[in-house]
Symmetry: C2
């Protein structure tokens, strides 16, 4: 469909993290704020330029005139003789403390587990899979319970699955997630439906049909029939997704062996080959070293492998387009192998705390040159929000120094001072700025799109969110007992959600307040590739 | 003011935790759900009875008739001849998954630090105090910057302080906190204003003027002039608060030595004596053993004391009405002393993670018979929500088994099996039910009101919140692409906030979903002593 305007001009405040050269210590990550105008082409959804001088109305008008732009919503404002280039203007209000921020990237989320959000009791990984996860996922293969399907949706997926997946995509968009790497289930129709829903709602997504064929681990009611079935069913979803989005502009397939214990060697081998058939090779996602019992199980199941990471490496599943979720208990040798293969890691702190898995040593991973992003890991993680994941990444990094693995197990740092035998106390902590880096630039690198996503550099795709913190309370707003109207303060003060601003905050502090107190109420609008995909009702 | 009705009848679903005998292992805490009607007297705000048979309209009408009750809002419904007892009816909707729950008790919160919520960087306790806390608190002593005060508010407190305190009370009420134990600042007028605001808005509160007179630790710009000043200024706020609420029905003073390092021995001694002057003795609150550097400092400052806990004990500050915040690094001897004195502990998990203090071994404390409640510790804690504190209590208990202190430092458990030398793996975890117990019954015991607050037992005070989870999505609600109206699913589905119900949840699972996904949007109304003090706009 031809757009009614050539560009969208975003006006106001823009905050992002700068792209880091690989050699830069991540500890020095900072936020960058720019004010002015930035424009995105309707044709390809990419950032074509910006002007950080065009802050006030006069200089903005000058920018419009210089470019021959006319506002489609108010053509008279800037004059109009029919020869101008039509543009749409989107304004972030300074008074309401609004700013544009890159969309969040969720590098690890299980869409079918969404109905289980908040339900995990006191379980740990292996019993959690059996008690909570396999039962809910198996339901996605039920016979289509109502005549479903449209021209856009596969008609052989159960309506209950469509409903849940639709809600997952709506919810994650409402939290500012513009790109997600999804695990679906073993079922081809429901997996295809997830792809179709992402495509239709406009969320950038990697869609993985889950492969699990090992009868010694998987329950009889929920597994692939064979290794061949794992591969051929996966191929079928790849074909569907390629049909939906031939160039993979928005939605792409991702090869998804659930994790080593669920897969036979022939399945792992077949999936490694399948990924390599394509050019460029397909993305791959799986789990690694989440829980100590799981690590022991992998050692028992794959005695010929040198390590958990080596299991994947043997079957060509450890590539630069591989996302490894968790990585809590990796050995130094495994980290070295992962770095050599340039495989990526999805850090899922909310899940790792909820299931008692432990704390991933993110600083160690970063220091060693491994790429890390954030994942919600719904429903091991209890929240579909990457902002919550960023908070939890900060929090658990502050507890890391109290753990036995940090103090004993060889998570030694490569330090700026050259010493590698003793961690610098406090260096393991992630700052708010670093967590936001992981949530955006880090995630972009994890899905191998570091040149396209995660920031507001010229040429990047406009996957972004408009954050609204609300107004600062005025000193003239008196407490309840000093006013005559009896209205509660919260109504008059104008904060959005739980972010309370008192007026003395620096702009960096406002960002900190957003991270620690914000939620989906502060996400006013979300765009993917320049398309508005969510706005707060 | 005389009430227009004698009772309020609450109808619908009631959830609370049962009161536990001291000998019951806390691991077995369960939630209890009752459905029917419960009535609260307007005269004293206490629960006078309930009828769990009166679930349907017919049996409810029978209950009304039997008691000669008439609904003031709809007298004709049940007949009205002028001789009936007038009652007001408040209904929790079953279809909207509403239920009554005891109000939350925040056993540790610093009201003046509220503007700093979310601002702590990567600091730890001692540098955090210097960088963030003392500067913001010192502002509460500024000259009254506008003519403030009313008949209800002291006119010598700065308007800026009134505004912040007003917002704190409004915010905590909106999160369902019906009772809070507040640290204020050293300033008498602002401390008195906090008491007046709580009293006026109807929040149950303990108000502590902070004592800090040690010139070697406190900054020159923010300290008491002397030990005598600590005591006499505290006495002055006690008198103000007693004048405001002579029987202490709602608002009470609490003796508040900030923590050992900020106080000289004469101040500690004077404050212990001041508390004991009253009958019953006044409540006391302070901090203990939050951070290892703090523990080392106390050892250095008080070489004559056997332990940190012993410092307080020497000055009669360790009583059954003492609230000790944090208790992360207590020794077994200190725990024993605290148990002997029956002093109480406020567990502040969000703060302990945020400042990297460590993880308090709550199970050990409970097993040893120590009373524990939850605290937000704003702004060491980044959230004024006790629901968030309950979540964090669950999460950090799942990480506790990974910490060195748990594995090495003598946090040995008294086990059901009699072994005391090796922790049972997993037993340290707190369940959702236990966290909710700590947030309500536990908090009530911490403020020495276990007979009055924290549950829905007959005779208890109606400090309660009405929680609304929202409707279950109907299967007939089709995904976006199967509907013709184009409206996003979230609008039609009727969830409140982030709690998504799909219809298969048990009632216990709905509570889990509330705890893990809920926020202030789910708090529809809040009552203290039967008075409606907050309702969602």
């Amino acid at each position: 469909m031809a757009q009614a305007y050539a560009y969208t001009i975003y006006r106001g405040t823009f905050v992002h993290t700068p792209r880091l050269p690989d050699s830069t210590p991540r500890l020095k990550t900072e936020l960058v704020r720019n004010r002015g105008a930035l424009w995105v082409a309707s044709a390809d959804g990419r950032i074509k330029g910006f002007d950080w001088q065009a802050r006030d109305d006069a200089s903005f008008k000058e920018l419009m005139t210089r470019n021959g732009w006319v506002d489609v919503d108010a053509p008279q404002t800037y004059g109009y003789d029919g020869n101008e280039v039509k543009v749409k203007i989107v304004l972030a209000s300074e008074e309401r403390n609004e700013f544009f921020f890159p969309g969040f990237i969720d590098t690890h989320i299980h869409a079918p587990q969404f109905p289980n959000v908040g339900l995990f009791g006191s379980s740990t990984l292996l019993d959690w899979l059996e008690t909570y996860t396999f039962p809910v996922e198996s339901g996605f293969g039920a016979q289509a319970d109502q005549p479903g399907g449209t021209d856009k949706l596969p008609n052989d997926a159960p309506l209950s699955a469509l409903r849940i997946y639709d809600q997952v995509v709506a919810r994650t968009l409402s939290h500012g997630t513009t790109c997600a790497s999804y695990f679906a289930t073993v079922h081809v129709p429901a997996t295809n439906a997830l792809a179709a829903l992402c495509h239709s709602r406009g969320q950038r997504a990697f869609i993985g049909r889950v492969c699990m064929d090992n009868p010694d681990f998987c329950p009889p009611y929920y597994k692939d029939l064979s290794a061949d079935d794992s591969v051929s069913a996966t191929r079928s979803t790849i074909e569907y997704i390629r049909g939906l989005d031939p160039k993979g502009t928005l939605v792409n397939p991702i090869i998804t062996p659930r994790f080593a214990p669920t897969c036979t060697r022939p399945a792992l081998e077949g999936l490694g080959k399948l990924a390599a058939e394509f050019s460029p090779p397909l993305h791959i996602q799986t789990h690694i070293s989440e829980n100590t019992n799981e690590c022991a199980l992998v050692k028992e199941l794959f005695p010929e492998s040198e390590s958990y990471a080596d299991v994947y490496d043997r079957y060509n599943l450890l590539t630069k387009r591989t996302i490894l979720a968790h990585a809590v208990h990796l050995t130094p040798d495994e980290r070295n192998l992962i770095r050599q293969r340039d495989a990526k890691i999805s850090h899922c702190p909310a899940s790792n705390s909820a299931l008692g898995s432990g704390i991933a040593p993110v600083r160690t991973l970063l220091d060693e040159g491994i790429t890390v992003g954030l994942g919600t890991d719904v429903s091991g993680g209890y929240s579909p929000s990457i902002l919550e994941a960023a908070r939890q990444a900060c929090l658990v990094s502050r507890l890391l120094g109290h753990t036995t693995s940090f103090c004993q197990k060889g998570d030694k740092h490569v330090h700026e001072n050259g010493h590698a035998d003793k961690p610098i106390i406090g260096r393991e902590k992630l700052s708010v700025e670093e967590s936001l880096y992981l949530a955006t630039r880090g995630g972009a690198a994890v899905v191998d799109m570091a040149d396209d996503l995660g920031g507001f550099d010229e040429g990047m795709i406009w996957d972004a969110q408009l954050i609204e913190l609300g107004s600062v309370q005025e000193l003239s707003e008196k407490p309840l007992d000093m006013r005559t109207d009896g209205a509660p303060s919260l109504v008059k003060a104008g904060p959005v959600g739980n972010v309370d601003l008192f007026g003395a905050e620096t702009w960096e502090e406002k960002i900190h307040k957003w991270v620690w107190s914000g939620d989906d109420r502060n996400v006013k609008a979300v765009w993917v590739a320049g398309r508005l995909v969510h706005s707060k009702s």
